[in-house]
Symmetry: C2
């Protein structure tokens, strides 16, 4: 029960939404009224479950998260909205909660109607399968192209009361719109207000899911939901306890985000792109993002080639002022560029050795100021092309 959280039950079953009779329907149920907050895709084309859940979470209370994989219920028009609402109604009735206490998420193929018959038939079983340790089964049921389930847990203490945070996520390759990819659900038994939980989620998201990229695309279905049911019984959090909680939430969400990059579509490398010496954090992030999203840089990672010319070109089109002659570049601790100039083949060979590892850092110093930021990315591989060229066939 290392992942179980007091007052929560969960389950994951095969409802027949996917063809292969693999788990495709997940449930998280809080036995108590629970604070709930969320972050949703910025894509203007939002799937039906995103629109419904944005509505249901507005009051910052919820009891249930229900998620299907295999079908994104995106670009499905008014029928999609009706189906998302029906899903909420069905599970609400079965568990005797209000429909607006149900949060719905979907992931899978875009543009096909949800198989509502299959979902309706599966709901009694989904509920009867619920258990305190069921969150692991839920983690499996939300997978699509994922090669492994993603789950992370951490224990904390507030006012002498122990609490736990457990999160699950799905996504292989951030972001893959056709799979309506990135989903993350976090449950905790800490007692916390909706306002504080929202703040904690925003700052945790900044250093986790907002710092990973695989191909720069955003999805129609992305969402991160956090529920806190207060079963730990702690009193109001002190500032220190709140900070501890944020730290713990960051740890869980960063774990889950890194698992997504590691499971990136066809990825063989996880690369930390760090930009320092920037005039502002915003500029540092802009540079890191441009480098991390460059197809040319990412294929060079795959080729284990310290091809810093591509990094310089990415910096040059990142939209910030670059003084070429001030730029230094490292692979881990091997400097390959100083004062904007290459430092020679010997060092490039040493850097190429570092790039043989499955994880390494690309560090850029702009020498313009004191600010820094980072993005975690993967390489662009033959396998990425295979997965995405062949996905629907």
């Amino acid at each position: 029960m290392e992942f179980s959280v007091s007052g929560f039950k969960a389950s994951g079953i095969a409802a027949g939404i996917k063809k292969e009779n693999t788990p495709d329907l997940a449930l998280i149920f809080s036995e108590y009224d629970s604070v709930a907050v969320g972050i949703f895709t910025t894509n203007k084309v939002k799937a039906a479950p995103v629109l419904l859940t944005e509505d249901h979470i507005m009051d910052r209370w919820a009891r249930i998260i229900i998620v299907n994989s295999g079908n994104a219920n995106a670009c499905t028009g008014p029928i999609g909205i009706k189906d998302a609402r029906s899903t909420a109604e069905l599970i609400a009735k079965e568990l005797d909660v209000r429909t607006d206490e149900v949060l719905v998420a979907s992931t899978g193929v875009i543009g096909a109607p949800l198989p509502m018959d299959a979902i309706a038939r599966a709901i009694p079983g989904l509920v009867s399968e619920m258990s305190e340790g069921g969150i692991a089964a839920a983690a499996e049921a939300i997978m699509t192209t994922d090669s492994f389930p993603k789950i992370s847990s951490i224990d904390g203490e507030a006012g002498g009361q122990p609490y736990r945070i457990t999160g699950i996520s799905k996504g292989a390759g951030m972001i893959m719109p056709n799979m309506a990819t990135m989903l993350c659900f976090v449950i905790t038994d800490i007692n916390i207000s909706g306002t504080l939980l929202q703040n904690a989620l925003l700052s945790s998201n900044e250093v986790s899911f907002n710092r990973i990229t695989v191909d720069g695309d955003t999805s129609t279905n992305d969402m991160v939901l956090v529920m806190a049911n207060g079963a730990a019984g702690n009193r109001n959090l002190t500032t220190e306890e709140y900070d501890d909680f944020v730290m713990a939430l960051k740890k869980v969400m960063t774990d889950l985000a890194l698992m997504i990059v590691r499971d990136g579509e066809g990825a063989t490398k996880v690369v930390y792109v760090k930009v320092r010496g920037a005039a502002s954090e915003e500029e540092a992030l802009k540079c890191a993002r441009t480098i991390a999203n460059s197809s040319l840089v990412k294929t060079a990672f795959y080729g284990q080639d310290p091809n810093w010319g591509r990094v310089m070109a990415a910096l040059g089109r990142s939209g910030i002022m670059i003084r070429e002659e001030d730029v230094s570049i490292w692979i881990d601790d091997v400097q390959i560029v100083g004062g904007g100039l290459g430092l020679g083949k010997d060092l490039e060979e040493k850097a190429a050795d570092k790039m043989k590892n499955s994880e390494f850092s690309l560090i850029v110093d702009l020498n313009q100021g004191e600010c820094e930021d980072f993005i975690v990315t993967s390489d662009l591989t033959h396998e990425y092309v295979s997965i995405n060229a062949d996905y629907r066939t």
Copy 2:
């Protein structure tokens, strides 16, 4: 002599800059004073020849274009600037023109110094090889990963005097910064003012090189130069004659741009992404560009999969307001989406058939207004990854 232009001579030889003793140094020489205009990379990291040529072309006069392939002379610091200037000085002396009448371009590996000895040794031969038909040899000498030389010509008439426009370009995959990719040089014997030529270049560039994309990266070395030496002897252009000239220049530059997409790195498809029914041309272009640069859309082209969910997701993150329920999508003349909804598997299969062709159109109607624009792109293939992962090794 179908490509030769009155009053211009050209040549292309192997100077030993590339390892394989293939042509790598090109010369274009105007026997008369010539109007010259140019467009240069927007990348903040500009190669030395870009900086020098931007300076030399400011007065809109030139006599010589000298281009080397195999070395970009980018990220080479003060030595790079000195080398670019030395190149100009050497050829200026040999042909008895002023140094500031020489335009220099380079393409190839970033970060290595130009082999000035090899260039200096080659210059007498480069000049002695010059001929009226030499522009074809020049087209070969500017190639890097290109699989074929790119040249296009058109004849026109102004005030009863015939003139010709001939252009050459290089680039396989737009844009590939490490190869410092996209170069285009156009010569014509029309008599035209610098101001008019500049306007003609800007509007031609908009519909040609500014409408192609392979991977969304921009290079440190991109440039388009046009020289017009007036040897045709026409008087001042009438408005109609100027319009005809612009039309002809657009034709040549569009030809050359499409050759670059066709020769795109590992590309198997050329796809016209057309967005219509937009509220403004700017919004149409933004949508077309986001779709055309999406790795997921481009792998779907490769997979011949009419995966319109990825197109919808790209529209959703293009930064413009999208009314999902108003969007229609076609592959050539086969409509696969209407009112934001898929129109069924039968039509998708018909669309997939169209996608087997080496060229097809993806048409998006936003139904928001009367404006439209387009981008020409290629697919993202296994071969793209191979070329870019292995380029320097």
